[in-house]
């Protein structure tokens, strides 16, 4: 069963509209209350008066929730810096109260009727302003190896530069949704679109002043998560639960797209200042950098995101001397959070940008420069972990060069570019090395509950959540393989905190590794108990008969499985250790064509070889690779978060807060020719059935597109000049880069 190409386990439900999401359950539940937020129209302000009484004049309004209603802790996070009901508005759109109505219209009108007086306070919107004003929060990690000053001094070529690049809105198609109810015993039941049911449970419990065993959270499935539902759902679930607790009725919280975009965190934008040294051979000698992430108004997951950024600034490259400082800016924006890659993409963007900018100045082709700097097997990363299987990256790289006809096409492109003054093409190849496991060692545990019923049918629960990534499909395959049963004998039940407790977020690409190993453990426990029965009855005994006899023999037919990733260590204070079980590798080559009149471009061909170990489920993995790649292309080229940075009345307002203004890739952005292969002979002995995690790493294959754009832009100007490219590289950004290239002399500064 493992390794078979199967459609998503719920595909037939998806396509027929039968698959239920949290708010579909709400739509089928009569008599529930609807919640609507009162959103502040200031980036930073003190609330001087909050009068909810006018809302009660609106027909249908049942209750208005404010800080005074919180029986437990008024906090929506785990760091006690995210008041659920604030007295100080920290970003434009911050919810200061919630109105419950018999229908959404009455709740909406009630929210409009709530009167709030604000005393506006100075606000910081731009990351560079936060840096200038030293507005920072949280830890200031430093990653250090060797002697960076000596390394720079010994380098033949030293360059320095800066880059600021944008974050990204998750834009899961399903916005945040929760549905809460209270039973006769005061038990709270919250259905929630959450990647982290356990933490949702904990936040709901502490807001309500309850213990965890009084709160159950269930996640049926999510309409996309991408990290945006790792920490962000908790507050909304708490609002629903608080409303249910106070009214005794079912309460639904479901954000509109604009509410979701203006209230929830996004991928962190970063600023980086760097100084790099190369030897005459193009080998990296030293890198000194300061990375500042835009954390928004509260810490949220900004610290671990920053750690991962620092741990991925090397990407695939050996850098002997390195000193990287990390800082988290506090700005008056949404609290930026996890997003597929979790800082890894941001760290890698910095080094890929450096190599792309410096290659022309070194007189070395960018692809050659990259390959010259690859790690070799067991060379240590800056944080001290040996790079196991580095040769696989080299193998994938060569495979892409070969199958994409890279050298031949580059010659063709050069000829085309010589002849066409208005349209230039670019071709680039980039690597991905991505560490798998949560940096924080304790999170690397998974749990499962496997039931074998008397009729031989099997029911699995595990701690992971399904957001479209195919985790449940893989878990069914793992269980069927472990028990040696046909797939239709195994069923999977929705994720619930009363089935598998104390779970980690389904995040860090680790869902299949952790939960798969736990499911396998549970299955193996059951098989071990069945073994004596099988021995007695003979090896040919049918599964159903075996189970029936085992039951009569009083054999326990269910088991709790558990897994903790072995061999991990991490010291956050020194930024050293072996935080990752293994590295996932990938290589992409991309070709683009850029229109010189407008800066508009097309991605014409992409070749990818990606390492998923021995694939558990090839169709699922292929989907993750392609989808992650396109999402990365969106981040780097198209998706454009714009906040109002004026001093006007809507300062701090997210200007791109809807689907009409925030553009994610549509099928028009799909590469004309997309070829994806899985790296062969790539089994990893450390993970379940030799497989590797696949959720996040492919996103970073998209750097090939950004670097191809840089190559194409360069073709508009003289050889040997560095090209600076904004991120996202929108058509406008590409146009300005072309104008700069056209007016630039060769061998300019970076």
């Amino acid at each position: 069963m493992i390794g078979r190409s199967l459609p998503h386990e719920a595909a037939a439900l998806h396509v027929t509209g039968r698959a239920l999401y949290t708010d579909d359950v709400a739509a089928r539940t009569p008599g529930l209350l609807h919640a609507h937020p009162v959103q502040a129209p200031h980036a930073h302000a003190r609330i001087t008066r909050l009068d909810v009484t006018p809302a009660h004049q609106v027909p249908g309004v049942v209750r208005v929730l404010t800080a005074a209603d919180v029986p437990g802790v008024n906090d929506a996070g785990t760091k006690h810096d995210e008041p659920l009901f604030p007295d100080e508005v920290m970003f434009h759109g911050h919810a200061v109260a919630w109105v419950l109505g018999e229908d959404l219209e009455s709740a909406r009108l009630g929210a409009l009727a709530v009167e709030v007086d604000y005393e506006p306070l100075p606000s910081i919107i731009e990351l560079t302003d936060a840096i200038a004003q030293e507005s920072f929060q949280g830890a200031r990690p430093r990653l250090e190896r060797g002697d960076v000053s000596a390394g720079l001094a010994a380098s033949s070529h030293v360059f320095e530069g800066e880059i600021e690049f944008a974050g990204q809105e998750h834009f899961y198609l399903e916005t945040h949704a929760s549905l809460a109810s209270i039973d006769d015993d005061g038990q709270v039941f919250v259905q929630c679109s959450t990647q982290h049911p356990t933490e949702t449970q904990e936040i709901v419990a502490h807001v309500l002043g309850l213990s965890s065993h009084q709160v159950t959270v269930q996640c049926l499935r999510m309409g996309g998560g991408f990290g945006g539902k790792e920490m962000q759902p908790h507050g909304f679930a708490a609002i629903a639960a608080l409303g249910a607790r106070l009214t005794g009725r079912l309460v639904r919280v479901r954000l509109t797209r604009q509410q979701d975009m203006t209230m929830t965190g996004k991928r962190h934008g970063f600023h980086a200042a760097w100084k790099v040294g190369f030897g005459d051979d193009g080998c990296l000698q030293a890198l000194e950098a300061t990375l500042t992430s835009d954390g928004g108004w509260s810490l949220d997951l900004s610290e671990p995101v920053l750690s991962r950024a620092l741990c991925h600034i090397d990407n695939a490259y050996w850098i002997p001397h390195l000193l990287v400082d990390g800082r988290i800016a506090r700005t008056h924006k949404t609290s930026q959070t996890a997003f597929r890659g979790f800082g890894g993409p941001q760290g890698m963007l910095v080094i890929e940008d450096i190599l792309g900018r410096c290659a022309p100045l070194l007189g070395i082709a960018a692809d050659d420069l990259r390959r010259r700097n690859f790690y070799v097997d067991d060379q240590p990363t800056p944080y001290g972990q040996p790079v196991r299987h580095a040769a696989r990256l080299d193998r994938a790289w060569q495979q892409v060069l070969d199958t994409s006809d890279f050298a031949k096409r580059r010659d063709e492109i050069a000829r085309h570019n010589d002849q066409d003054p208005h349209a230039k093409r670019g071709l680039a190849i980039t690597p991905v090395k991505f560490g798998i496991s949560f940096n924080f060692t304790s999170f690397n545990q998974g749990g499962a509950l496997v039931h074998v019923y008397k009729d031989g049918s099997v029911l699995i629960n595990h701690g992971g959540t399904e957001m479209g990534q195919g985790l449940h499909t893989k878990m069914l395959q793992v269980a069927a393989t472990a028990l040696d049963l046909p797939l239709d004998r195994v069923r999977l039940a929705p994720t619930r905190t009363d089935k598998v407790p104390n779970t980690s977020a389904t995040a860090a690409s680790s869902g299949a590794d952790l939960n798969g190993a736990a499911v396998k453990d549970a299955c193996e426990q059951i098989l071990a108990r069945l073994a004596p029965v099988r021995e007695r009855l003979g090896p040919d005994i049918a599964w159903e008969d075996l189970v029936r006899h085992a039951f009569l023999d009083r054999v326990q037919l269910w088991a709790a499985g558990f897994y903790r990733t072995p061999g991990l260590s991490w010291d956050a204070s020194t930024m050293r250790g072996n935080p990752f079980k293994y590295f996932a590798y990938g290589v992409a080559a991309a070709e683009v064509e850029v229109d010189g009149f407008t800066g508009a471009y097309r991605v014409t061909r992409v070749d990818i070889v990606h390492d998923v170990g021995d694939s558990l489920s090839p169709l699922v993995d292929l989907g993750q690779i392609e989808g992650g790649f396109v999402q990365g292309v969106g981040w780097l080229t198209l998706e454009d978060l714009r906040w109002d940075t004026s001093d006007g009345p809507s300062r701090g307002r997210l200007a791109t807060q809807s689907a009409s203004t925030y553009k994610l890739p549509s099928l028009s952005e799909m590469p004309t020719d997309l070829r994806v292969e899985l790296l062969e002979h790539a089994a990893d002995d450390g993970a379940v059935y030799g497989s590797k995690a696949v959720g996040e790493p492919p996103l970073m294959l998209a750097f090939a597109v950004r670097e191809a754009l840089r190559e194409a832009v360069a073709a508009f100007g003289p050889d040997g000049a560095a090209v600076e490219l904004a991120s996202p590289a929108t058509p406008e950004a590409v146009y300005w880069a072309i104008q700069a290239a056209k007016t630039r002399a060769g061998k300019a500064q970076v």
Partner: protein, 470 residues
């Protein structure tokens, strides 16, 4: 008007997946999506509530061009539920079941076309509309231009589309296309009226707070995102008087209530400039609802049709109970979202004078190729005789409070030789037209640059075409 055309329709019937349902209980502010979800059909989803993501797409049976009935995909989130009265609707649930998948569903499911599955029912409906399009030779990817997927990267969805065969002869939805479309009948509900004639519509529009609605692709956004709740909606999209299209010797005249999809197919390439606009105008889902009259009626400073229609020197024929008047489109826009339209007045037809200028082009500058709003839109219609520019009309969107003609740039071209030098000079003039702003779509300086580059690019391509044609 005292007739109550809905008196014999007590229960506001809508046929959904073959079953007659009543929407009498739905209030006037309820959109089709919320109504469908409220009766348990939760396959259609809200992803954006502004017709951008297509998660809410459903099929409606409409009069067809190549068959008596065509299954047309629309955004259910934008359309008032009341607009469905008397109509036939099919949702993803109605196409197939997990045990008996529809061909579109089977291809999508089997090829990994769904991951999280939230956008999937909408894709299924958009894809099914294309599946049933009469005379379809191959799958037109523009059918999916209004559907967003955040998970797959689209490749398996495109593969599923490409793998579709033709509907089988006994496919009930295909058979349905051979019978007449549902009759359009007058309807009157609280807050909603579908008049039986233009005269009745004009009478209804005289009432307080009455607003005309056709495809509702703009009004639906106002309702969903900004809480617009007009007192009375007067549906004009099915009025025969507003749905004619005539190509004459002197004019091409287009009825205001024709959807962009209908216009595209009925014109069949006879106005090449508009043919360049259509595939770039929003998405198929929107074009199936949005009308040419609505596009001008909203008075957007960008639009995409207005710059093209300005370049075509179009007139609008306005109708009211007092009669008709003809206004040049260049005089129609009076300010930001303001026009010469008087209360009680409707756009009846759009009139494009013939003959058309032989050289034309539409340049849309946007971040995304499909379904994006222009930061700048430029339309050219130019005639060159004996190497000299005889006439030049340039329409611009996105550079002023209204769509405008680029009068100074036109003057810099007319009477001059069609040469690189002329175009270079005129392009500089063009870049100074209007008063472009900095906003989240583009900077003012990029907008100005794009005005200039659009003319340079137009000239470069016309030379290339000339060479290749020679």
């Amino acid at each position: 008007m005292s007739t109550d055309p809905a008196a014999n329709l007590p229960q506001a019937p809508v046929t959904v997946n073959g079953t007659v349902r009543s929407l009498a209980a739905a209030g006037p502010a309820v959109n089709a999506l919320d109504w469908l979800r409220g009766i348990g059909l939760t396959g259609a989803k809200e992803g954006c509530a502004e017709g951008e993501c297509g998660a809410c797409a459903v099929l409606v049976a409409r009069p067809g061009l190549d068959a008596p009935t065509e299954w047309t995909a629309i955004n259910a989130c934008l359309v008032p539920a009341a607009a469905l009265v008397g109509q036939e609707v099919v949702t993803a649930e109605g196409l197939g079941t997990p045990e008996a998948l529809h061909p579109v569903q089977a291809e999508l499911a089997g090829r990994g076309g769904s991951q999280c599955g939230y956008c999937t029912p909408g894709f299924v409906c958009s894809m099914a509309a294309e599946f049933y399009r009469p005379g379809r030779a191959e799958f037109d990817h523009h059918a999916l231009s209004g559907n967003l997927c955040r998970c797959t990267g689209y490749r398996p969805i495109m593969d599923a589309a490409a793998a579709l065969g033709a509907p089988s002869a006994d496919d009930p939805l295909r058979r349905r296309t051979t019978a007449a479309a549902p009759l359009t009948r007058p309807v009157r509900l609280t807050g909603w009226v579908r008049p039986g004639s233009l005269d009745e519509a004009l009478a209804a529009l005289d009432g307080p707070g009455a607003v005309a609605v056709a495809g509702s692709t703009d009004l639906g956004v106002e309702a969903n995102l900004r809480g617009a709740r007009p007192a009375l909606l007067v549906a004009i999209d099915q009025l025969d008087e507003l749905r004619s299209l005539e190509v004459g010797a002197d004019f091409v005249e287009i009825g205001a209530a024709l959807s962009l999809s209908e216009i595209e197919r009925q014109l069949a390439g006879r106005v090449p400039l508009l043919d360049e606009v259509f595939p770039q105008f929003a998405s198929r889902l929107i074009r199936n609802g949005a009308t040419i009259g609505g596009n001008l009626g909203t008075g957007s400073p960008i639009g995409d049709l207005p710059p093209a229609l300005l370049a075509l020197s179009a007139d609008v024929v306005l109708v009211s109970r007092a009669g008709e008047r003809v206004v040049p489109l260049a005089d129609y826009f009076t300010g930001y979202r303001e026009t010469v339209l008087q209360p009680g007045e409707l756009i009846g037809r759009v009139r494009i004078p013939q003959p058309l200028a032989p050289m034309s082009a539409f340049h849309k500058i946007a971040k995304r190729r499909f379904d994006d709003i222009s930061s700048v839109a430029v339309a050219f219609a130019i005639e060159v005789s004996d190497g000299v520019v005889g006439r030049a009309a340039i329409g611009l969107g996105g550079v002023a409070a209204t769509p405008i003609r680029a009068a100074a740039a036109e003057a810099a071209l007319v009477g001059q030789p069609w040469s690189a030098a002329t175009v270079q000079a005129a392009a500089e003039v063009l870049s100074g037209e209007g008063t472009p702003l900095d906003d989240h779509r583009a900077s003012a300086s990029y907008r100005r640059a794009m005005l200039r580059e659009s003319l340079l690019g137009f000239e470069a391509r016309s030379r290339l075409d000339h060479r290749e044609g020679a």
